[in-house]
């Protein structure tokens, strides 16, 4: 099943948003907590647990703001009734019982909160767009909820929306809770929750970014899916061929490289391919070694395109003699000749560079 095959990319999604973002803002401390499903009560959000970790995180920074707390875990929403009522399907992606939530809480001093909020919204939006082949489909929208009417700036919410073929849907929410959240925490615990910044103490403002792995999956799969119509010459004029491709970002695709072998000295070529594949794996590139089959190269390319594998490395008899391999690109469908000894550095650079778009 395609989705199962794609599952590894959830790994990328889960790690990249949280870890680098924390390092950026708060190089000193990050507390990452993984929550296990707790007995009887099913939680609907990670928010509470994260808030509980705020104080300990603050201690680690010696009371200095800003502090961030990040977490991921399974969450369950709604009762069976609610899900039933939601069955009309206006939220196509949210019909599941549980989702794997990703949550980041940022506690920042109340200086220029609007800018900090902007910053999060912008950097989250950029994160989504970075992996997308249609960045313009990601948009942000803000809404101030009804309760914010009373305290103008203290609470505002923004969503990052993706325009799915069936309409726009929120894929991540970024919420500025103001300092109310922390004040409430203090009220319940009785311990001071104030943080320091430039020698002054404040109630920090809480900004929460929340999304889920399932949503990421849906978005990036939809985003990458592309149909190309190909006119075939020689065939009858009207016959058009539809080729499917997943234009996944190299960091999201399950495999970055597929090794294919061809030629008459198949056994020797394969031995070589196995060796090269192992080397690539050692270098941190995920490689799918095509099992021996009788498919034509063309149909193998096509399958790889459908899998979203960015590069197909082909080895043949010629490789055995000259060391020349071809690297076939998914997006250009062109084959580039290269020497086998350069393969690793080229792939590493190509894949690595796209990280820092």
């Amino acid at each position: 099943d395609a989705v199962v095959l794609e599952q590894p990319n959830a790994f990328c999604v889960e790690n990249t948003p949280l870890v680098p973002v924390d390092e950026l803002l708060m190089p000193d401390k990050t507390s990452e907590k993984l929550h296990l499903l707790k007995g009887t009560s099913l939680r609907s959000s990670l928010s509470h647990d994260c808030s509980a970790a705020y104080l300990s995180a603050l201690k680690l920074t010696n009371g200095q703001l800003p502090v961030s707390v990040a977490s991921s875990g399974q969450c369950f929403h709604g009762t069976a009734d609610e899900i039933g009522s939601n069955a009309d399907g206006d939220k196509l992606l949210k019909n599941g019982l549980s989702e794997t939530q990703l949550l980041l809480q940022n506690y920042s001093p109340p200086v220029n909160v609007a800018q900090v909020f902007d910053y999060w919204l912008r950097s989250r939006l950029r994160w989504w767009r970075q992996f997308s082949s249609n960045p313009s489909k990601f948009n942000s929208s803000t809404s101030s909820d009804s309760k914010s009417k009373t305290s103008e700036e203290s609470s505002s919410q923004a969503a990052i929306n993706y325009s799915f073929p069936w309409g726009a849907e929120a894929v991540e929410t970024i919420c500025n809770h103001g300092d109310i959240a922390v004040r409430q925490l203090e009220a319940t615990s009785g311990v001071s929750h104030q943080g320091k910044y430039h020698q002054k103490t404040f109630y920090p403002h809480l900004i929460e970014c929340q999304t889920s792995i399932e949503q990421c999956m849906a978005v990036f799969l939809t985003d990458a899916y592309r149909e190309h119509e190909v006119k075939r010459k020689g065939a009858t004029k009207n016959q058009e061929d539809v080729r499917l491709a997943l234009h996944l970002h190299p960091l999201l695709s399950p495999y970055q490289v597929t090794m294919s072998v061809t030629g008459s000295r198949l056994r020797e070529v394969r031995v070589l391919a196995e060796h090269v594949a192992k080397e690539l794996r050692d270098a941190g590139i995920s490689v799918f070694t095509s099992p021996p089959n009788s498919d034509s190269m063309e149909s193998q390319y096509r399958r790889n395109d459908e899998l979203g594998v960015p590069y197909t490395v082909v080895m043949s008899d010629q490789t055995l003699d000259t060391g020349v391999i071809t690297v076939r690109g998914r997006d250009t469908r062109l084959k580039q000749q290269q020497h086998v000894s350069k393969l690793q550095s080229i792939l590493l650079q190509s894949i690595g560079a796209q990280d820092l778009t």
């Binding site: 055995l320 062109l334 778009t357």
Partner: protein, 1145 residues
């Protein structure tokens, strides 16, 4: 029941009634005594009229004609049919005459017997002290330079006895002033000198004396130059001061007190503005002037005079002797006949470091003082001349007031810049991504050579290089192995990880050995790699060009060098112009391909031939695909051809050229006036221009079945277009002329480049704005105690570097704010103006003068004709026309020229500013690219005939709706001493007929209206200053952008300021009418349609200014609330019609 005006019209149309009878009738019909003039235009209410035109013996009841004008009554009666005939000719006079509620308001008592006297009085009061100061320094002779400049922090005063003394600021009232700042240091002043009538002063920045670590990129108040306060103090003295400088707006932005919200009484007088007003050059003249200096002028002068003879036109070169460029050096040489100033020293400030300044301190200070000396000399010369040419005190008063512009900003400002930059980067990134994917997709065409059938891509270089290896060395392979590092590495790795290798369990020893051998052998071939291996082997050449080489610094995989600058990009985007595919020709630049005209049968023959002869055809152009594409995109072409084609083979080429919308025949040239000079002043490039082959087409460029037409260049048809994605063509995307034929990607890319273009062009200027942030202690208590004051917020200001009279029309010039764009949803960063935000406890109060220049032009025409408001068609349309009836000017023109109302606006203003018919033609074709040139010509001619009219033998314009207006303008423009009708300001010497004879008439006609508009502005500023001072309103002038003024006001005083603005408009309009001999004013123009009370600068108070960089709008994104727009009635309701401060209850 018949409505009253209707009844009146019915009665009056009969023409059987006398004027008196009609007046009586009207007064009966309008029991509220609304006053109407003979043309049924509502005039000022009686109560206001009495106050505004006190000397006019206004009748109490309208039906008693005033005695003083009884003679004119007869005249009016006699003229009336005349006027009516004129108006009826243009289908006017029949609209509903709406009456608007009268305004009952007690104005402040005016001084003197007329509005003019009043303005003279208040302006003289305002400028009296400053004028005296200017007088005293103009007459003074400067003391000699001090022997040595003191190298100490802050200001030093040099006394007559040679001693010097450290002072907090220059203690004379008036100084000539100049600052220098080191470019490298950014917006931090380095040194300054000042000259009072008796003393020299010098100022040295702290950082010249000691290295200081700077934390902020923006200067703080303490880094700036104090002119009236002590160090670390912001207590302003109430003393008036005058600072004179050349382009003093720049120097002013380094003066500490100018950043204080309270506003100081110091005024700035700019010698550059004075020079421009007295004898400045138009931009066109400036170019002529410079080219005449650069080129060896003898030949050029000779040619020019030859041309003048040829055209039998009176012109003169004298203007070049009485005028000059605007920089201090040129101005000094012109007015003082001085030696050129030594400007080499200046390089230290441009390129040097602080150390250079320290080393050369005495010299640099002297250089700075020399500039001051020159400025003083220029001022002494210009001052009497300025007063003579601009005798009305309002002019000086207005200019001084303009020089106090002030833009408060807060934390929104840095946030805005950050947002705009981030959005811009984001868009650029996305744009690149899109272009890369377009390039990638184009690669698919390599399959089966499909590119050969692609209309855009067929002529790219598709050659593919193959990967080459060196010959295998015949020597022992073992040697190669030891050479190769990678082999060593491979072996090592294999040995090392052998045990962990899953494969190891499955394969035998032999197999493992075999594997090792294979790998070794293959890797050994690395030695055969050439030094520079073929780059991107397997990819077409054009694609490889877009890919950076691996070793380049900003390497990024794929064709990442692609940008909208690339020649290949428009092709990849598959752009079309008006439905025709774009093509690049090395001789003609970018253009598009249009099927050439052929008999249908012939076409088919051609197609058939192409079918069979495709392989042998000399040209690779895919004619077949082209025809197929054209059939799809322009089916009408092929239908049309059948009818035209059969008629006349020879004629059909021309016919269909029209039909195809080929509007690119030789376009009518610029107005003759200009061309004359261009040809004269540019003998060099002339030849090149006249090359007949470089027109717009059609050209046969050797592609079968089609002709090439160039894309029209904005500077005229003769230029070749280098990049259709450049800024000037992006608006073509908007109207759909330029389109991407295939794919959302390409259209999105077009959109993105449009989004980016504004920020790309303005980023530097906007980021370069000098903001000075104030500490809490530097803000007035009033601000810091406001509820919405944020302890950790940022509060600061920008002092815009305005040249108060930067053009010969005396309009103010400043590159960022006065030309700032309004907010558009497709312009990153265009929310600029809305980012200027009031500090807590303040409001902006301001207004746009409703169709200011149109009204000025119209009233000049009215005065010229019969001295009745609305007696010319233009006047009537301006006052009485409305959109709903389509009787306003723009709707009328829209109807005439068959364009949209907005386009008609452009046409109208162009015409009123003196642009000719040729210009209108060009505009028409730009608005609708499918207009044929002859059609545009007819329309333009028609429009001109009906508006401007035609010249009769006496050189007067006749027959058009605007003929009277143009006659009035030309009468002024052609008079011996052109002066503005209201304030009597003389035109720049460079345009005076005695120096230019008949030359530059367009500029002079234009000057009449524009310069009067400046008079209008000055009158408003003076009137506002008077009301602010008289009624103790806490307000200061903020900025004026063209016909718009803004004041920064403490919130409690905002409605009083709004009332003051409304009254100011009334008085200003009144003085115009009075000076033009029409002591009355139509009610519709008496007050602003709305005064905006707002907290930021924006076009309308309710705009949210959503742009790509402000996606959430002002209200949500920046929590800027909506403002109020108040008409006079609403203001009266809020203030009770009183300017005095309401007593607290």
């Amino acid at each position: 029941m018949i409505s009253r005006p209707h009844l009146w019209r019915k009665l009056s149309a009969s023409n059987s009634l006398t004027w008196c009878q009609r007046c009586w009738l009207r007064s009966c019909l309008h029991p509220h005594q609304q006053r109407f003039n003979t043309l049924n235009i509502q005039m000022l209410a009686d109560v206001l009229h009495k106050q505004v035109f006190p000397s006019q013996n206004v009748p109490h009841t309208v039906h008693q004609p005033p005695l003083s004008v009884s003679s004119s009554v007869e005249k009016e009666d006699k003229d009336l049919p005349n006027i009516q005939a004129h108006l009826q000719k243009f289908d006017l006079l029949k609209g509903k005459s709406q009456s608007i509620p009268d305004v009952d308001l007690n104005l402040p008592k005016l001084f003197g017997q007329s509005v003019d006297e009043h303005f003279r009085h208040i302006a003289s009061e305002q400028i009296r002290d400053y004028k005296a100061m200017a007088e005293s320094i103009a007459k003074s002779s400067p003391p000699p330079f001090p022997k040595e400049w003191a190298c100490q922090k802050g200001w030093t005063k040099y006394k007559e006895d040679g001693s010097s003394q450290s002072v907090p600021f220059p203690d004379d009232d008036v100084v000539v002033f100049d600052i220098e700042c080191l470019m490298q240091e950014g917006n931090f002043p380095t040194m300054a000198t000042a000259l009072s009538p008796n003393h020299w002063y010098s100022w040295t920045a702290d950082c010249v004396l000691q290295d200081k670590l700077r934390w902020a990129a923006e200067p703080q108040l303490s880094d700036l130059i104090p002119m009236e306060t002590k160090r670390n103090s912001t207590a302003l003295a109430s003393k008036k001061r005058l600072i004179i400088g050349h382009n003093v707006g720049f120097d002013r932005s380094f003066v500490k007190e100018q950043y204080l919200i309270q506003g100081s009484k110091t005024r700035f007088l700019d010698t550059m503005s004075m020079h421009i007003a007295v004898c400045g050059l138009t931009s066109f003249q400036r170019i002529l002037y410079q080219s005449s200096i650069k080129e060896s002028s003898r030949k050029e002068v000779r040619e020019h005079s030859e041309r003048q003879k040829l055209f039998n036109m009176a012109a003169s070169e004298e203007w070049k002797k009485v005028s000059g460029m605007n920089n201090l050096n040129a101005v000094y040489q012109l007015h003082c006949k001085g030696e050129p100033l030594k400007k080499e020293t200046r390089d230290v400030f441009i390129k040097g470091t602080m150390a250079d300044v320290r080393n050369d301190f005495q010299n640099l200070m002297t250089y700075c003082a020399n500039d001051v000396l020159a400025t003083h000399a220029v001022f002494a010369k210009l001052w009497p001349e300025f007063l003579e040419r601009f005798p009305h005190p309002v002019t000086l008063g207005g200019m001084l007031e303009m020089g106090t512009a002030y833009l408060p900003v807060d934390s929104r400002w840095p946030r805005y810049i950050e947002q705009a930059n981030a959005t811009y980067d984001e868009c650029q990134r996305e744009l690149r991504k899109l272009l890369v994917s377009l390039a990638d997709e184009a690669c698919h065409l390599v399959d089966d050579d499909a590119y050969k059938d692609d209309l855009w891509l067929w002529d790219l270089d598709w050659t593919v290089a193959s990967f080459k290896m060196n010959r295998s060395p015949s020597s022992r392979p073992k040697a190669a192995v030891s050479d190769s590092e990678s082999i060593g590495r491979a072996n090592a790795k294999m040995d090392e990880e052998e045990n962990l290798d899953l494969l190891a369990f499955l394969e035998s020893e032999e197999e493992r050995e075999e594997r090792r051998q294979i790998v070794e052998r293959v890797y050994a071939t690395a030695s055969r790699l050439p030094k520079n291996p073929t780059f991107m082997a397997g990819y077409p050449a054009w694609y490889r060009e877009l890919c950076p080489r691996l070793h380049e610094d900003d390497w990024y995989p794929g064709p990442s060098n692609i940008s909208t600058q690339c020649r290949v990009t428009p092709k990849l985007m598959r752009l079309t112009w008006d439905g025709y595919p774009l093509h690049f020709d090395s001789a003609f630049g970018w253009g598009y391909l249009v099927p050439s005209v052929q008999e249908p049968t012939e076409l088919e023959l051609e197609l058939d031939r192409q079918d069979t002869e495709e392989e042998v055809a000399e040209s690779k152009f895919p004619v077949k695909a082209f025809m197929a594409f054209m059939k799809k995109s322009k089916p009408e072409l092929f239908q049309g051809k059948q009818t035209t084609g059969t008629k006349d083979k020879k004629g059909s080429a021309a016919d269909s050229a029209h039909y195809l919308g080929t509007h690119f025949d030789r376009q009518a040239i610029e107005p003759q006036e200009a061309i004359l000079h261009w040809d004269a002043s540019k003998p060099g490039p002339k030849k090149k221009k006249s090359n007949p082959n470089l027109g717009d087409g059609p050209h046969d460029i050797g592609l079968p079945g089609c002709l090439f037409y160039g894309i029209p260049h904005k500077d005229g048809s003769k230029k070749r277009v280098g990049n259709p994605l450049a800024k000037d063509y992006l608006h073509r995307v908007e109207d759909g002329t330029l389109r991407a034929e295939t794919g959302d990607h390409a259209n999105r890319a077009l959109l993105l480049s449009k989004l980016c273009s504004y920020w790309k062009n303005n980023q530097m200027r906007i980021e370069g704005q000098m903001v000075s942030w104030m500490k809490k202690a530097e803000l007035p208590k009033y601000v810091t105690k406001q509820q919405d004051f944020e302890e950790y917020g940022q509060y600061g200001a920008i002092v815009p570097r305005i040249a108060v009279a930067g053009t010969i029309t005396r309009r103010a010039v400043e590159p960022t704010w006065l030309t700032a764009s309004n907010a558009y949803p497709d312009r990153i960063g265009s929310e600029l103006k809305a980012m200027v935000h009031t500090p807590p406890g303040y409001h902006f109060v301001g207004a746009d003068v409703d169709s200011q220049e149109l009204w000025i032009a119209a009233i000049l025409g009215d005065a010229h004709f019969k001295k009745i408001h609305g007696c010319t068609a233009l006047g009537w349309m301006t006052l009485q026309g409305n959109k709903a009836d389509k009787t306003d000017l723009h709707s009328k023109t829209a109807e005439l020229a068959k364009v949209s109302r907005d386009h008609a606006k452009v046409l109208n203003y162009g015409r009123i500013y003196g642009a000719g018919q040729a210009f209108a033609e060009q505009l028409l074709m730009q608005f609708n690219p499918s207009t044929a040139p002859h059609q545009a010509r007819t329309t333009a001619r028609d429009m001109f005939k009906k508006t401007k009219g035609e010249r009769n033998r006496e050189g007067q314009w006749t027959g058009g709706s605007e003929s009277f207006m143009f006659n009035a303008l030309e009468k002024i423009a052609n008079s011996e001493k052109p002066t503005t009708p209201v304030l009597g300001c003389r035109i720049s010497k460079a345009l005076e007929p005695r120096y230019v004879l008949d030359d530059f008439l367009t500029s002079r006609v234009n000057w009449v209206v524009q310069s009067s508009a400046v008079d209008y502005l000055h009158l408003m500023l003076v009137s506002m200053r008077w009301l602010i001072d008289t009624y103790n309103i806490q307000a200061r002038f903020c900025i004026s952008i063209h016909d718009e003024v803004r004041y920064l006001v403490t919130s409690p005083d905002r409605y009083r300021t709004a009332l003051a603005l409304h009254i100011t408009n009334l008085l200003t309009r009144a003085i115009f009418a009075e000076r033009l001999g029409m002591a009355d004013l139509p009610q519709s123009v008496a007050f602003f349609s709305a005064v905006d009370v707002d907290t930021c600068l924006r076009k309308e108070v309710n705009l949210d200014c959503r742009t790509p960089s402000n996606p959430h709008g002002l209200a949500q994104g920046y929590s800027t609330p909506q403002g109020e727009a108040l008409n006079i009635h609403e203001v009266i309701k809020r203030t009770g019609g009183k300017l005095t401060k309401a007593k607290k209850t």
